[in-house]
Symmetry: C2
Subunit: 505 residues, 2 copies
């Protein structure tokens, strides 16, 4: 900063950011509350309150004065004199600002109404397996999205503009390469597993597991992971989620199924991974919009690292199976190896959210390829069911009996969230690549897991990833930590090694 005028602008700018962050905190509490037990009859008023406050936040985020302040702070000598937090805050805010102000309010309003109707329509269409009733909505959403892409400006391909919203810097070119490599190797691996005579026994999992004991074990495992209960809480909801209001208040939920002890367990570890990320963001980012995960993909890498790499490993269960048994006396009488194998069954299936660690990626690749066809090749909504079914047949060897279990299964498109799906598999790939580095930098990594000494692992991740929040981009993080750009071979190698053991390939 060179003059007092610029200092004043910086103060106004950071004050505005803090104000916007306060709205984000309030809205996050309102949503969390809605999903964890808000009374049914208050829903309409609550929706209106959320709409009103979101509108107010949008106004503050797109106000002309904010644009003026950004212009002042972006002047080369001014920018150069800012500290790294303020520099990043300017860059990030400019990106969001431009994205928001480029959409005419009227157009955006129409789109919000459309997607809100479409979500209800989707739910009905899915229930009735009636794609025809949803198609006109999807068609319109695609049209609006195309208008937005034009307004935002195309970088690379049209679909790149969408990808960049969820995974900053990610391109179709890069994803084609990594997903191509992944698909090529996972399809035969999945087939080899299916053909193996050594299929795990899972019958013993089908018992009634008391909810209270499940809850206690969930809390125990979170504590073991280093989840800070003075800076977070665990609740129940129909669909598990994590929400970081601020690093001192990170909330996760899980769902206890009495007939399935693994659902809440792995759900808790998954959301716990998201929570560790949010709880360990640097204090100097608190109160800024940088105090959150840097991308959907990096966030998902942490939930999946803790859930799959750690939580579904033999080393982990060598340590914790005894504790689990104690929580359910007389119920888990199989050896730990059988439990481990049962929680790692691979089985091509129709439904993404029920898929295993390996075939999950094929579900994502199918969605990625279809989204790319829509925005880069002009494929129409009417063509999607046939496309979907053909790809399931090709990659997973199975075909949906109806659209409810096929193209209609996910909520994402009804809300216009095109470009989001790749994050899930990016999470798996990032996790595997990070694990490779972790194994080298903490040579006793698996020994630590086997001893339940998880804190050094949490600390390593904090040091390398968590603390930075949005201060580093996904590729800065991955290349900085692993020395390489994203490479799908780490995931392939990890899966090959793991499943060769389990299925004796």
């Amino acid at each position: 900063m060179t003059t007092s005028g610029e200092n004043e602008v910086l103060a106004l700018f950071t004050e505005r950011i803090a104000l916007i962050k306060s709205y984000e905190e309030a809205l996050a509490v309102l949503y969390w509350d809605l999903r964890t037990g808000a009374p049914r009859k208050g829903m309409d008023v609550r929706s209106e309150a959320i709409g009103n406050l979101s509108g107010q936040m949008f106004k503050l985020s797109t106000a002309p004065e904010l644009g003026d302040w950004l212009t002042v702070l972006e002047a080369p000598t001014t920018y150069a004199a800012l500290n790294e937090v303020h520099q990043r805050l300017v860059t990030e805010t400019r990106k969001d600002y431009d994205r928001s102000v480029k959409i005419p309010p009227k157009l955006y309003q129409e789109y919000v109404v459309l997607t809100s109707q479409a979500e209800s329509m989707w739910e009905e269409a899915k229930g009735n397996s009636d794609y025809a009733s949803f198609e006109p909505f999807l068609d319109k959403i695609i049209n609006y999205t195309n208008q937005f892409i034009d307004l935002w400006g195309v970088k690379g391909t049209r679909y790149d503009t969408l990808l960049d919203m969820y995974e900053p810097g990610m391109t179709t070119e890069q994803l084609d390469r990594v997903f191509g490599g992944l698909r090529e190797k996972l399809v035969p691996l999945s087939a080899a597993i299916a053909a193996s005579p050594h299929q795990p026994e899972t019958g013993f999992l089908e018992q009634t597991y008391a909810k209270d004991a499940q809850k206690k074990f969930s809390l125990f495992i979170l504590e073991q992971m280093g989840f800070d209960f003075a800076a977070g809480r665990l609740d129940e909801s129909a669909h598990p989620f994590a929400t970081g209001l601020n690093p001192g208040d990170v909330r996760i939920t899980t769902r206890y199924l009495e007939g399935d002890v693994t659902s809440a367990l792995f759900g808790t570890i998954h959301e716990g991974g998201h929570a560790l990320y949010e709880q360990n963001i640097r204090q100097d980012l608190v109160g800024t919009t940088l105090a959150t995960g840097t991308s959907m993909g990096i966030h998902e890498s942490q939930s999946r690292f803790w859930e799959n790499v750690i939580g579904r490993s033999m080393n982990f269960w060598s340590r914790y199976y005894g504790d689990l048994q104690k929580h359910f006396p007389g119920q888990l009488d199989v050896p730990v190896e059988d439990f481990y194998r049962a929680t790692n069954v691979v089985q091509p299936s129709l439904i993404r959210i029920e898929a295993d660690e390996l075939t999950y990626n094929l579900h994502i690749i199918i969605r990625y390829e279809i989204e790319k066809l829509i925005f880069n090749e002009g494929v129409k909504a009417s063509e999607l069911p046939a496309l979907w079914n053909a790809k399931y047949k090709e990659y997973l060897g199975i075909e949906p009996p109806n659209d409810g279990e096929g193209v209609l299964q996910d909520v994402h498109w009804s809300g216009g969230a095109f470009g989001y799906f790749p994050s899930y598999s990016l999470g798996n790939m990032y996790a595997a690549q990070l694990t490779d580095t972790l194994e080298r930098e903490l040579p006793n990594f698996w020994e630590l897991v086997e001893n339940g000494d998880l804190l050094p692992i949490k600390n390593w991740l904090t040091d390398k990833i968590y603390q930075y929040g949005k201060l580093r981009t996904p590729s800065e993080l991955i290349e900085g930590i692993t020395g390489k750009p994203l490479d799908p071979d780490y995931l392939v190698e990890y899966l090959k090694k793991k499943y060769t053991g389990i299925y004796k390939l």
Copy 2:
């Protein structure tokens, strides 16, 4: 409305009110969340979020355009053409608007900082029984309050200006009369009770009562009262409270003490009374600032009606004691009469919040008389401990051994809430006066209670009070329902009759 211009102003005005109401809803959720389990480490950020959103709401509530709209809508012919909801909304909003805009923002800001510091200082001073450390803060708060009174304008006496904030229309003149009458009759009644040889046995209450069973019984009683669980919830907090976000979402809390089965029980019924009020407000008031209780006193009349008039009656326990016994097998083996008498012990004590139904009013009268002296007679903060102790000796026959159990016991003054205390006793007086009418209009009132048929009572109260929210003033309600202005004799007669029976006077 006569012109389209005025219709447009009405639309802008009601839209602003709805927006303000959305902030109120969000802030209420944020506070509720803080008090029911928000993680400790998120408190600072949460406080800042609350401060920021409150500031935004204050801006919207004091914006010049709102004043302009009010002026348009207040024009006699325009106002006359408004419906009753809009008329009342204009009147109420004008009152709040004028009150807020008359205080210079800088002065208010200083005051907010002062009271926030004072509350911490008060907590420490109370713990150490050290009035001297709190006195300078109280002195400043009194000075600020006097400045506010000057800015708001004195109506009647200076203290009337404060009373009007919590009980619209209430005056010192009226309170002198009713509190005078009350004091004159309660002091000898309290003395007669103390002298009675027929003191209730309470020893059996001192047992360990399982928290789970207490919780179940609390939920059962709320259901019996007609609390709508689809429009509300019961949680736990250190200090029980009720908060109505909107009539479809009314939340209450209670506190379970394992050593005292009556604490959570009567606390739940008390907050349940507040909740019934808020849940049964008319649908056409939802989304406006009229969708809440009309005053602190009327609100308190409902909590105290349900807690004391119904909940501490022999008729109530004739019906519900068996249920209570079943929740605590083998623990409550005394006859119902003994239980009834034990929950109605009268005992002059030093601490207001632990006081019984009768002497409670004397605690309030003491505070009322002291507040009046401060603002109408210029009594100084330094004089309060001596004044306090003398009045406790005179009215209750006991003297605090220290200021922690005396003048420092309540939080109210540290937050500048002068004029609030009378509401508590107004609640008791309103409740007794309403009960008199209720007994005449529902001749089988006590039979209904004895049969656990509480819904006709809830419906009567809804019809007469709850539905109107802030659409009627306290005196409009009381005079409209009972045909008379507030009269303390109803409470005196109610207490005399009740305690003559219990203490065989």
